[in-house]
């Protein structure tokens, strides 16, 4: 029988396992039983003896490695990680889960890439494990875990506040009636049965809720609990005297596993190559919303478009394009120590967009210049001065989601937009294609690429004119 803790290590059963272990003593000792379980698994493929985890710490790293490889390695072979879905390892798996959360919590904290990877890996692992069970077994497990997670038969949707806030689930995915989440079949039939015409209510239940929605909610709730647990650890660690060196060591090793795909397969965007270097802006790679804003905002929303949208986008695209990949908070001066690029390239482009608004933004609202400086991290002052840097934070570019809400008129998505969630990712993706295009161009004729800020307005017009050509190259 599969234990609930195999899916949810934070369940009471999982906590019992940790309690039984007691302390960190002997945590890195070899566990012959674990090795035996891994090697006896019939679907397990072992290429090298070193691949077999022989203690808690190695098992912990295997969990992360599985996720990273599955995501980034084209030659990923799932059979090399078969043991991860074998419930006979539950006891060891639970401990390794706690070790990971604690290591990441102590060293990196809840807002780190390590935490994000850990939480996502846990979610994927649960799904992988459920997939290996029979339909009956999996259904039973999901029902049991949900009963434990939800505490009550009837749950108001507001209970999922955290999951909604972190967008782990979408409100539109839930089936709601009178504020209550409908998950169970009897309840569904009781509330909606009489309204359903020309269709069988039972099969409608199976399609709309059935196993899929229950599984989704269970998985996302466990992911959220994992995140919350890491946060708790982090907060406790801040008042603790000295974290256990084993945890710090494990944290470093996790970071190494995470760094590997950056070197080998290129992390995140799927493209290959090293880190994204900052360089002169290339308007040909701007997403449709930025191009539209550059043409000038003619109706309402001028302030938001220039101050909240364009300022972060232009500054990050020019100075720190891989902010989301690096996940390290920086200041403008970290990237532009003399603020020369900011003064000569970034601000002029933002001002130009402001000038093209109808009416020109600064004509009636000159104070918005101060707000632009504030969004660059230089406080509420009329000039950029190093001594003011840090009084406010350097705003990161708005996500597509936010743009749709704040500035719906700017959002006119094209094909590339479907693959990204932030205009900056669009720019990073396109700039590679555009650069290659430039290279091809300069091979055939001596064509100067239009990266001079003063040319930007013109090149946008040119690009609009030639948009068919550009599309054909893109396709």
């Amino acid at each position: 029988m599969v234990s609930i803790s195999f899916l949810n290590p934070l369940s009471p059963e999982g906590k019992d396992i940790v309690r039984e272990l007691g302390s960190f003593e002997g945590i890195s000792d070899d566990i012959p039983e674990l090795r035996r379980l891994v090697t006896r698994n019939p679907s397990q493929e072992i290429v090298d003896d070193k691949e077999i985890p022989s203690n808690y710490l190695e098992l912990a790293l295997k969990r992360i490695e599985w996720y990273i490889k599955k995501k980034h390695d084209r030659e990923f072979n799932s059979r090399r990680y078969s043991f991860l879905s074998d419930y006979s390892i539950t006891k060891y798996d639970v401990i390794s889960f706690y070790l990971l959360c604690q290591a990441i919590g102590v060293k990196f904290g809840p807002n780190s890439r390590e935490t994000r990877v850990m939480v996502e890996a846990q979610g994927d692992l649960i799904q992988e494990r459920l997939g290996k069970l029979s339909v009956q077994e999996s259904r039973l497990m999901v029902d049991q875990s949900l009963a434990m997670l939800l505490h009550d038969d009837m749950v108001h949707w507001t209970f999922f506040q955290e999951l909604l806030s972190t967008r782990k689930i979408r409100l539109t995915e839930l089936v709601l009636d009178n504020g209550e989440l409908i998950l169970n079949e009897e309840d569904f039939l009781h509330r909606f049965g009489s309204r359903i015409k020309h269709r069988n209510p039972d099969s409608m239940y199976q399609l709309l809720i059935g196993d899929e929605l229950k599984e989704l909610i269970m998985v996302k709730m466990i992911m959220q609990e994992t995140e919350d647990y890491i946060k708790q650890v982090h907060e406790k660690a801040r008042v603790m005297v000295e974290p256990n060196p084993i945890l710090l060591e494990l944290a470093d090793e996790v970071a190494e596993v995470l760094a590997e795909p950056m070197q080998h397969y290129g992390y995140g965007s799927g493209r290959s190559g090293g880190p994204m270097k900052a360089g002169p802006l290339n308007p040909l790679a701007f997403p449709p919303c930025v191009k539209k804003a550059l043409e000038g905002i003619k109706s309402g929303g001028r302030n938001d478009a220039i101050v909240l949208f364009m300022t972060p986008f232009v500054s990050y695209a020019r100075l720190y394009p891989d902010v989301f990949r690096m996940n390290i908070t920086k200041r403008v001066s970290d990237q532009d120590p003399q603020l020369e690029i900011t003064e000569n390239e970034v601000l002029p482009l933002i001002y130009e967009a402001a000038q093209r608004c109808v009416p020109p933004l600064f004509d009636d609202q000159p104070q918005e210049k101060v707000n632009i400086n504030a969004k660059l991290g230089f406080g509420m002052h009329s000039t950029l001065k190093m001594e003011h840097e840090g009084e406010t934070t350097w705003y990161t570019p708005m996500s597509c989601e936010k743009i749709k809400l704040h500035l719906p008129h700017l959002c006119r998505p094209d094909d590339v937009c479907k693959k990204i969630g932030n205009p900056l990712s669009y720019y990073n993706r396109r700039i590679w294609e555009v650069r290659n295009l430039d290279k091809e161009d300069s091979d055939s004729e001596d064509n100067q690429s239009s990266t001079d800020v003063n040319d930007i307005g013109n090149s946008i017009k040119n690009e609009n004119k030639n948009s068919d050509d550009n599309n054909s190259v893109e396709g």
Binding site: W157, L164, L171, K197, L207, G210
Partner: protein, 322 residues
């Protein structure tokens, strides 16, 4: 009725002779000290902010003597409203502005009876969903002067952050096309939104219907051609009888998919989402004068019978000579 701005004399007359501090809804009066107030004295935006009133009498005096162009109060409750600090919670607000309805049947320049009525229909639909699907109560509707504010004071949602609020907006307005492909035990099934008579697909169907019934040939919808719009106008009678399957067939499944996708993205402007996700917004004070159009912002007791041109017109408008 001519919606022209109020003169400073008319403002003075309104606040001294007609307005009563007890016209401010109780839900604001009883939380007065926790709210920030803002005023626009010159008609150039509310730049007199961070005002706090210890009791209604101070507020009454302020309004009588300053007779502001416009008055606002925060949707947020603070421990220190004077510094906009110590945020406790905020009303959940939906702003339906008649001027900004994405598909308007009237085509007027500003607002008129037709689009105000359309705004009212939208408000009805939103409130049904707020109550029925989201199970929220303590809902108040205020006529803002150019449209309607729905203000939800249910404690279940007042502590929620902007991200949750943005999800609520999307649910209410129907800005995502519900999925139509489902699978069960390895088999694929198709369920169009209009075949599901509850939950979000039902909300979406209601909003799309509202849009299609008001659409005209000039309505701009992304990637929807004039031909599709013509077909909609020709066949939309089917929708009054909820013959969605037939309607979709007449439009053609591919064109239909494009049509609902276009409407879904327009739906995001049914309400001003910025207002809903802003946790520190100030909103026009009910009972105060909208000087731009000379109308009273009014708490509505019965939305069915409310008529802004009857119930929200200040006396001075009837006394105008020209």
């Amino acid at each position: 009725m001519d919606l022209k701005p109020a003169t400073p004399n008319e403002r003075r007359q309104y606040y001294r002779e007609e307005w009563d501090v007890n016209d401010i809804p109780e839900f604001i009066r009883k939380t007065l000290t926790q709210r920030e107030f803002g005023f626009d004295h010159m008609g150039r935006g509310p730049n007199d902010r961070y005002r706090v009133f210890q009791n209604t009498d101070y507020l009454r005096k302020f309004m009588r003597y300053r007779t502001p162009f416009a008055a606002y109060s925060s949707v947020a409750f603070y421990h220190k409203p004077r510094r906009r600090d110590g945020w406790i919670k905020a009303e959940l607000v939906f702003d339906v502005d008649a001027k900004d309805i994405p598909i308007r049947s009237c085509g007027c320049e500003n607002v008129c009876e037709i689009c105000l009525n359309q705004a009212k229909d939208i408000v009805h639909g939103l409130i049904d969903t707020i109550r029925g699907d989201l199970g929220l109560s303590d809902i108040h509707v205020v006529y803002s002067g150019r449209g309607y504010h729905i203000r939800v004071l249910d404690d279940k949602v007042m502590g929620m952050d902007s991200d949750v609020r943005s999800q609520i907006v999307k649910y209410l307005v129907g800005s995502d096309v519900p999925r139509s492909e489902y699978s069960s035990h390895g088999m694929k099934y198709n369920l169009e939104h209009f075949t599901v008579p509850f939950g979000y697909p039902q909300v979406f169907t209601d909003r799309v219907k509202q849009a299609l019934l008001n659409l005209n040939l000039d309505t701009e919808i992304d990637e929807v051609s004039k031909d599709i719009k013509k077909a909609v106008i020709k066949h939309r009678e089917l929708l009054s009888e909820d013959q969605w399957g037939l309607f979709r067939k007449e439009i053609g499944p591919v064109r239909y998919a494009r049509l609902v996708k276009g409407i879904a993205s327009l739906n995001l402007t049914l309400v001003d989402a910025k207002v809903s996700i802003d946790l520190k917004r100030i909103l026009r004070l009910p009972s105060s004068l909208h000087s731009g159009v000379s109308m009273k912002s009014t708490l509505i007791k019965n939305l069915e019978t409310f008529d802004p041109f009857q119930d929200a017109v200040p006396k001075f408008v009837y006394e105008r000579k020209d």
